[in-house]
């Protein structure tokens, strides 16, 4: 039996036009922030999304949440196509999916009290009388580890970690099925980060939540996710179970990313040979042809990688990769494909 995934994203595209002219705007280019992303998330699991800044993680999340309108592709949530729904239909769906934002300082309205921040969604969706909402909010504050008596305080009275707890409480208020966490812990100190990660895990068990968890910290993503997707320049280059992907990455980019993470263990850290990628992420306005990673790829093959775009294909059960020459070994002992390796330009 195959259960229908809670969230299914097919070929999602979001292009931002670059225009010139004031009155007659002419499109002169496009930022291909998200360019054909497909994945699915099952009920109760956590999908981690990793990638460098500018790879389209956040734009993808916003498109899924319908905070941005995708320019192409299809988003199916709980069996319903939500790509183009409007008005009342969209309003109903919004109750089912919530978001936790990166910056706990910018994502809470400084002029509102905690009670009304957390309770706002409940009011909007008319989920109870004022007294009921107040009680629910206080319960929520307790659930996320805050003092319910802080109901009447303002955000500035809280530390970064506590604010992020408020953000989590707000997302949880309407009992959504899906929570999209966009870098929820990257602004926090390690000790506080660990508190929030533990909280998110506990809430997932308690409320049967499904997460899409976006972060650039690979260790954090591994810790919280069941499956992980690696993005590069608007595309998913590899998806797999956490243990598959981390123990045996197939895409050279995932490999390089993993090997770039500093290991907090000196003896291990000093004896490994990380693959240091040269150069920067190219601009999404003019992405490289075919495989977008080819100018930086240590396994680049001229005539193949820059001509033919690799599709996301399943190499092992549940482990998909978009690469013509996936890694055979890990750690990457011998990176080069002989013969015919051409220096990356």
């Amino acid at each position: 039996m195959l259960e229908e995934p809670l969230l299914k994203v097919e070929n999602l595209e979001k292009h931002f036009p670059i225009t010139r002219g004031i009155i007659f705007q002419k499109e002169i280019g496009r930022v291909r922030a998200v360019d054909g992303v497909s994945f699915s998330v099952n009920k109760g699991e956590t999908l981690g999304v990793v990638g460098e800044s500018g790879c389209g993680k956040s734009t993808m999340a916003r498109c899924v949440m319908r905070l941005l309108d995708p320019t192409g592709g299809k988003v199916t949530f709980d069996g319903q196509d939500i790509t183009n729904i409007k008005g009342n239909d969209l309003f109903k769906v919004r109750r089912e999916m919530m978001m936790v934002f990166q910056d706990p300082y910018a994502s809470l309205n400084p002029r509102k009290r905690v009670g009304s921040i957390v309770g706002e969604a409940l009011e909007v969706h008319k989920m109870g009388t004022a007294a009921e909402i107040k009680r629910k909010v206080q319960d929520l504050l307790e659930v996320v580890g805050l003092n319910p008596e802080h109901y009447n305080r303002f955000p500035f009275e809280f530390s970064g970690g506590q604010r992020q707890r408020i953000g989590v409480a707000r997302a949880l208020a309407v009992r959504p099925k899906l929570i999209v966490c966009d870098e929820p812990v990257s602004a926090l100190d390690v000790s506080v980060q660990a508190q929030i990660l533990n909280l998110l895990k506990r809430l997932q068990d308690e409320f049967d939540l499904t997460y899409v968890f976006i972060a650039h910290d690979l260790d954090v993503v591994r810790h919280i996710s069941n499956r992980v997707a690696v993005m590069y320049l608007g595309k998913v280059v590899e998806v797999g179970e956490g243990s598959q992907l981390y123990n045996r990455p197939l895409h050279p980019y995932s490999g390089a990313l993993l090997s770039a993470v500093p290991v907090p263990n000196p003896n291990v850290a000093r004896n490994r040979k990380p693959i240091v990628l040269e150069g920067d992420v190219p601009s999404p306005i003019n992405p490289p042809s075919a495989c977008r990673f080819h100018p930086r790829c240590p396994r680049f093959q001229a005539g193949v990688c820059d001509v033919d775009e690799p599709q996301l294909t399943e190499r092992e059960a549940g482990h998909e990769v978009a690469c013509h020459y996936p890694l055979e070994t890990w750690p990457m002992a011998d990176l080069r494909l002989e013969p015919g390796r051409v220096a990356a330009s």
Binding site: E52, S53, S159, G161, Q162, D189, V190, S191, V192, Q193, A194, Q195, L197, N198, K201, H216, L218, D219, V220, R222, H223, S243, A256, L257, S259, A260, V261, P262, V263, P264, N265, P266, V268, A269, R270, R272, P274, V276, L277, E278, D280, V281, P331
Partner: protein, 343 residues
């Protein structure tokens, strides 16, 4: 003799709400060619320590005490003109945010040349060729042409490289790097760390690396100082800190790292949040968050004492717990995880 010897450094800021004890009696030294990492959470005083050594705090509301001896001169007492000659020449600094620490209205070339010409009476041509050389050393492609570009034409990683080039252009004896890779992606971070290591080898500079990332520390540091609420709680060689840490705060930092926890297990975070430095807690400043705290921790400030008595080792810790107990706990908490860990 160490290159830089800091003794009992105190930096207080006068504010409307009272005096903030940003650094409260910190001592450390840096040897030539070595890297000292200062680790701690935000607000623990790591950056202020660096700013104080460099004399970059605003005069009007800062109270500074202690000594920072650099080549027989006390950086905290010498006159500003003298300090200006040292700054950017014998000691230079890399700031955290490469986006805001370069001047947006001057070209990279002009800013690099300025760094050279401020300290040496050389012609523009000489300054120019040295700057180009430095840009090449930090692996900026087409260095000659990029000299005429403005900071906004560079990506984040490249800007940080320009900052490093600027810091190293006068061949400093000491480089202070304040979170040099925090604003960067992991792949760029790896590039920058590799570069800093390489440059240290080539130029023999000493580095003070301020960071909150223990991974970065494990990769680069020789010595480590762990700070909590304006005080040093533990100090030692990198192996002491990672394999034999003795302070509960250091345990907490290591226990919060997802990488060091077995798959499926919960992280062991430090409860609570760092205290305010306006009214720091009495006694051991960590006692409010410490799961091991007992009666002496509340009134008595623990001294930073060498581990194993005498001053035989460089490893020092400020904690009231019994040494025997600490050693056992440390072993139980971390040893196995660390030993079994794979790349």
């Amino acid at each position: 003799m160490p290159l830089l010897d800091v003794k009992d450094l105190k930096t207080y800021f006068r504010t409307d709400d009272g005096i903030v004890h940003a650094v409260d009696g910190v001592s450390f030294s840096v040897e030539k060619g070595k890297t000292l990492a200062i680790v701690g959470e935000s607000g623990c005083g790591k950056s202020v320590t660096c700013m104080t050594i460099m004399g970059l705090n605003a005069k009007r509301n800062t109270i500074t005490e202690g000594q920072a001896i650099f080549k027989d001169r006390d950086l905290l007492k010498i006159d500003p003109d003298e300090l200006r000659k040292i700054r950017g020449n014998e000691i230079s600094m890399i700031f955290q945010d490469p986006m805001t620490s370069l001047n947006p209205v001057y070209t990279i070339g002009a800013q690099l040349r300025e760094a050279v010409q401020l300290h040496e009476n050389v012609s523009k041509q000489v300054a120019n060729s040295r700057s180009v050389e430095m840009l090449k050393a930090v692996a900026i492609p087409r260095a000659e042409t990029r000299m005429d570009d403005y900071p906004h034409q560079f990506s984040g990683g490249m800007r940080q490289r320009v900052m490093i080039a600027m810091a190293l252009v006068n061949n400093p004896d000491l480089l202070i790097a304040d979170e040099p890779t925090t604003a960067l992606d992991v792949t760029t971070q790896a590039q920058i760390l590799k570069l800093m290591n390489q440059l240290q080898r080539d130029f023999g500079s000493a580095i003070i690396l301020v960071t909150h990332d223990l991974g970065v520390v494990a990769e680069t540091a020789d010595d480590v100082m762990v700070m909590y609420a304006a005080k040093a709680v533990e100090k030692g060689g990198y192996e002491d800190i990672f394999y034999r840490p003795e302070h509960p705060y250091t345990w907490g930092l290591l226990g919060s790292l997802p990488r060091l926890v077995a798959e499926g297990a919960d992280l062991k975070p430090i409860p609570g949040t760092p205290p305010s430095l306006l009214q720091p807690p009495s006694g051991c400043r960590f006692h409010l968050r410490c799961t091991y705290a007992f009666s002496p921790c509340v009134p008595d400030v623990p001294e930073l004492l060498p581990v194993g008595g005498e001053s035989a080792s460089d490893h020092a810790v400020a904690c009231h717990l019994e040494p025997e107990f600490r050693r056992r706990e440390s072993h139980d908490l971390l040893h196995e995880v660390m030993a079994e860990q794979q790349v």
